[in-house]
Assembly symmetry: C2
Homo-oligomer: 320 residues x 2
């Protein structure tokens, strides 16, 4: 049973000091490794590990091909500026090969998890000789995995997996008592830039969680472009998370006066404190119409754009 | 080439008098038949035919199983009150049999067209001995069929079909010079009740045009219920047309704390003058949220609701 630390209870400086000490105790004079995705959770864990271990922490950014435009370069540069070296590993082909032919959301998540842990990152960890792995699991991930709501990519104990036996390393999860709002408070106290500690969530399956049906480089390119359009309009909006989702259903439309079966992009924008419950943001109509117009103009195959109006629950944040 | 009569040019009394006379001239002392759907076009044609021919016009309402709740009874009662007898024919099984297994929108439209003209209505016309068929085709139907945008169910000449050779009857299409706005003006002048002459369009393929993927009685029941929810919230709204669309894509959601792959309903609500171009209505957020809440509450399998934010073009009004 994990004891939750709410934002009201959280003393970020003490949390940082205790966890830096705990990481140091656990790792001793050994080496640790962690995977940085650029999200707030893994960024905070990277900083905690860096404070505890310095160059004995190896931080890897795995480019799985389903990231946002320019993401690997951007994250690596940002942490380089903070004095934390990040190693970018190009594993795009491996991930797309594993996703080929899969349409079931759980199978897609599972393929990404397996490719990450058993193949790409597993291989890197083995070669590194590190015996400790730092992970950014938070309490909401555990809740949702236990409830069967969502299979998180980074919750092992709850799935009955012993990571030492399976992968040959110990897992350290300093953020387990926190929820997203608490992680942001710690991130700020760690002097992470606001674009990191206030970053909108963009979970592990990344763009593949925004493609209904089969994931391939072409469909990922469509949703990556759609995501960039949404970011242009919404990155300054005071919302919890937003996303563009590429549907599998085709809908009729007109291009140059001719009928086509085009694509539909669904936009979701959430108000939420901690991702457990969420409501659609009442965005200004001008913004919604500008997003739709840009998606249609910049993505020639898109003939239909929708905006989510259902809350979570019964919806989930992501669509896959 | 059809000469358009715009609303500005339209003299509804003269239009009615001329068309009643034309119908009478064409049919002579014979009999005519027409199919009434309850939409404004077929309702206006029914009234023109009734004025011209009285009891020599036979008006048939074909229940194809893909109509709104209570629609056959409602339309028949309404015209009975106007002194126009309407014969309701139950052809639900024939239509569902023809639609079975079809997912392509054009094949679905074609199956409905063929079942209607070659089977159900064709049989009724033959048995009736009528040699003239009155149809509510309007100019926009012709435009869209010619442009290849939409295969209308009621445009023959433009499709290269000779109805006399194919079906054994002449077609009279008095509304050909008009667009929807003109038809409404004529409907008012014919003393049709406002709920008819200002009725939101609900084209021939009806609920089957609001089901992406295969049409079966169960999926039609879902979208019929969703349509009733939308009507409850929007029937008084000053909009051109609205609809609920059942998607084929499944999306994850939560019901009673457990993950399910639920359904998504898309709501569209259009501002338009004549259906050639349309923009999504900027509905109040309270209305959108109330619609989403009711759809989720009344349709247990629905976990996601979206609202269309793309204009026509490149979208089309309907989704199939």
């Amino acid at each position: 049973m994990i004891k939750e630390i709410t934002v009201a209870e959280l003393n970020p400086e003490r949390f940082i000091a205790e966890n830096v000490a705990d990481i140091l105790t656990a790792v001793g004079d050994g080496r640790a490794i962690n995977a940085l995705s650029g999200g707030v959770d893994s960024s905070v864990v990277t900083m905690l590990g860096h404070r505890a271990l310095g160059s004995r922490l190896r931080t890897v950014f795995v480019d799985n091909g389903i990231m946002r435009e320019g993401e690997p370069e951007r994250v690596a540069a940002l942490f380089r500026d903070l004095g934390v070296p990040v190693e970018v590993v190009d594993a795009r082909d491996e991930f797309f090969a594993a996703l080929k032919g899969l349409t079931d959301p759980e199978e897609k998540r599972e393929a990404i998890t397996q490719t990450f842990y058993r193949q790409v990152f597993g291989r890197i960890v083995k070669e590194s000789g590190a015996r400790h792995l730092l992970q950014g699991t938070i309490l909401t991930d555990v809740d949702e995995t236990v409830a069967g709501i969502k299979r998180q990519h980074n919750v092992f104990a709850q799935l009955g997996i012993d990571p030492e036996k399976t992968f040959g390393y110990h897992i350290l999860e300093p953020l387990l008592p926190l929820r997203k709002d608490g992680v942001r408070v710690v991130g700020r106290a760690l002097n992470l830039p606001e674009e990191i500690f206030n970053r909108k969530p963009f979970p592990g399956p990344a763009l593949s969680a925004r493609v209904i049906g089969e994931v391939d480089p072409e469909r990922i390119a469509v949703v990556r472009r759609a995501t960039a359009v949404c970011e242009r309009h919404l990155e300054k909006a005071p919302v919890f998370q937003y996303m563009a989702i590429l549907h599998s259903d085709r809908v009729p439309g007109m291009r140059n006066g001719r009928r086509v079966y085009g694509r539909q992009i669904e936009v979701r924008c959430w108000n939420s404190l901690d991702a457990r419950q969420a409501t659609p943001t009442r965005l200004p109509w001008e913004t919604l119409e500008a997003i739709a117009a840009d998606l249609i103009r910049e993505l020639p195959d898109v003939v239909s754009v929708t905006y989510n109006i259902a809350p979570k629950p019964p919806s989930t944040m992501e669509a896959v």
